[in-house]
């Protein structure tokens, strides 16, 4: 199974060449909090909610697998209720975005989900 008798006895033969070549290249890692990578188009980041489009049908709350969305009373929609998002529970599956009849819920390309207080990740209607 092991082929080529001579090269085996050359310790670090192949990898050393590759390692030396990489010494003169720029690092592939990114200095994250200082430098940010742009998320690609269609990225499923934090949810954004536009209440002026919302009907209050509650489909999003019914399909959500993690109970991120609960329906609370609100005067701003036609059916007098609106979703409340606890984004800390969200798994970014996108069921609510798909099922929303008026496209009131959409994904942003924001992936900075670390916050100091849990309340910062709650969208109240």
């Amino acid at each position: 199974m092991v082929e080529g008798g001579e090269e085996i006895d050359m310790p670090w033969g192949i990898v050393l060449k590759e390692a030396l070549r990489n010494l003169f290249k720029k690092p592939v890692t990114i200095n994250y909090p200082v430098v940010n990578v742009e998320a690609p188009e269609g990225f499923r980041g934090l949810l954004s909610f536009n209440i002026s489009k919302c009907l209050g049908c509650g489909n999003c709350a019914r399909v959500c697998p993690t109970n991120t969305i609960t329906m609370v009373p609100s005067d701003k929609t036609r059916l007098k209720r609106a979703p409340r998002f606890e984004l800390a529970k969200c798994v970014f599956c996108g069921s609510c975005v798909e099922v929303c009849p008026t496209k009131a819920i959409s994904f942003t390309r924001n992936y900075h989900t670390a916050v100091l207080k849990k309340d910062e990740l709650v969208i109240n209607p």
């Binding site: 192949i14 990898v15 590759e18 399909v63 697998p65 798994v91 970014f92 599956c93 069921s95």
Partner: protein
């Protein structure tokens, strides 16, 4: 948040604690006993309390690395229950994701096994190359991990020309890198000393113990669910089963590297044969009720045969979902593999079946002769192994020849 009792299947794969008890005589292991279930999350029971579509996103979380295999396997079984006609394009996109997943999973594993034997240079390179696949996956599905690309009846996102051309680039890049890794693994003394002849599982034993996946194929067992019981589009896809007769950890490395090349070929075939347009999902909504039915779904996940049994009772929620992950099937083989080997060989052998890195979080070593019990954590064990090999490699090399 009042789920009180965690019940269900465990997932002995990645970042998951397994507890082994090894019985040793001097340096040689005479018996081993795995103890699993530390991250038992109750997913099987929980599926009975969620709807068919909510379960898609729950079952994806069974494993972070082969999330698409789990979700696709469940979706495939649910489609049999719903008696849905899945559009051809959906099957192509699903298969593309499965193969991309195999690429990045094998690259990840290659890094892990190199790390276990103390060859961190290659670990860095494989994980760097893996980023190319991750970027492509993110571009197609919208997330790096947990793609949620499958739905019952098809897939959720269409694929466009830009993504396909990038998939071609990635496949070519990974294939060339895999050839480089194969060269390195077969020539590098450091790797050969630690893996050649270690963790032997003979072909007869592999068949007897029902070993699955690359672990079985490295023992010369020609079994691959993609080939033997074809699903999705694998009955049209031209590809070969990669096998190797070495039966040791080195063979497992080589089989996985060669499988990456085969996967890259499959990805290229998919790109060239992808239907131009057409629907990507059958019309099943969140509120469709399935007929009373039961289904069996098998998928070749990166680690081996993944098995789902799904039963419906005609309501919005499944009656029973049974999951059998490949690592659970291989755990019996691990016990067999470690017998007769040295303590220092434990990390590559256990990592050789591709379980989690932290599987060996706590290993209890009992010396049969003086009944001393000491606890190692994973880092200590790796350090112990490297030190032991530094001391003993000369006579070992002679002995293995």
């Amino acid at each position: 948040m009042s789920v009180k009792i965690p019940i269900g299947p465990i997932h002995p794969m990645l970042k998951e604690p397994i507890n082994f008890t090894f019985y040793v005589e001097g340096e040689t292991i005479v018996d081993a006993e795995p103890n699993i279930g530390f991250v038992h999350r109750g997913i099987e029971k929980l599926t009975e309390n969620k709807t068919w579509f909510q379960n898609l996103y729950l079952l994806e979380k069974v494993c972070g690395i082969c999330s698409s295999s789990h979700q696709g396997c469940y979706a495939q079984g649910a489609e049999m229950i719903f008696e849905a006609n899945v559009p051809e394009k959906a099957l192509y996109i699903r298969t593309l994701m499965w193969e991309l997943e195999r690429l990045h999973s094998h690259l990840l594993w290659l890094g892990v096994i190199m790390h276990e034997i103390g060859f961190d240079t290659l670990f860095m390179y494989t994980w760097r190359d893996r980023e190319a696949v991750m970027d492509l996956v993110e571009m197609i599905s919208g997330r790096r991990v947990g793609y949620s690309i499958n739905t019952i009846g098809g897939v959720r996102r269409d694929i466009d020309y830009r993504m396909l051309s990038k998939a071609l680039d990635v496949a070519n890049f990974i294939a060339s890198r895999a050839e480089f890794y194969e060269r390195v693994v077969l020539r590098e003394r450091t790797i050969l000393d630690r893996t050649d002849g270690v963790g032997v599982l003979s072909k007869v034993d592999a068949i007897r113990l029902n070993t699955v996946g690359p672990t079985a194929r490295a023992s010369g067992v020609k079994r691959d669910i993609r080939y033997n019981l074809p699903y999705a589009i694998y009955d049209e896809t031209p590809f070969d089963i990669v096998t190797d007769d070495g039966c040791d950890v080195l063979s497992r490395i080589i089989v996985r590297i060669r499988e990456m090349i085969v996967s890259a070929e499959i990805i290229k075939w998919i790109v060239f044969n992808m239907p131009k347009n057409g629907p990507i999902a059958a019309k099943i909504t969140h509120f469709t009720k399935p007929p009373e039915n039961e289904a069996i779904s098998r998928v070749e996940a990166p680690r081996g045969e993944l098995f789902y049994y799904i039963k419906s009772n005609g309501s919005l929620k499944p009656e029973r979902v049974k999951i059998r992950t490949p690592t659970l099937a291989n755990i019996v083989s691990v016990i067999h593999m470690v017998k007769g080997h040295y303590i220092a060989d434990i990390p590559p052998i256990v990592a050789g079946i591709d379980p989690c890195m932290s599987c060996m979080d706590r290993v209890a070593i009992i010396d049969v002769r003086n009944d001393k019990k000491s606890l190692f954590n994973h880092d200590q064990l790796v350090r112990y192994a490297i030190k032991w090999y530094k001391k003993n490699y000369r006579w070992l090399r002679e002995e293995r020849r």
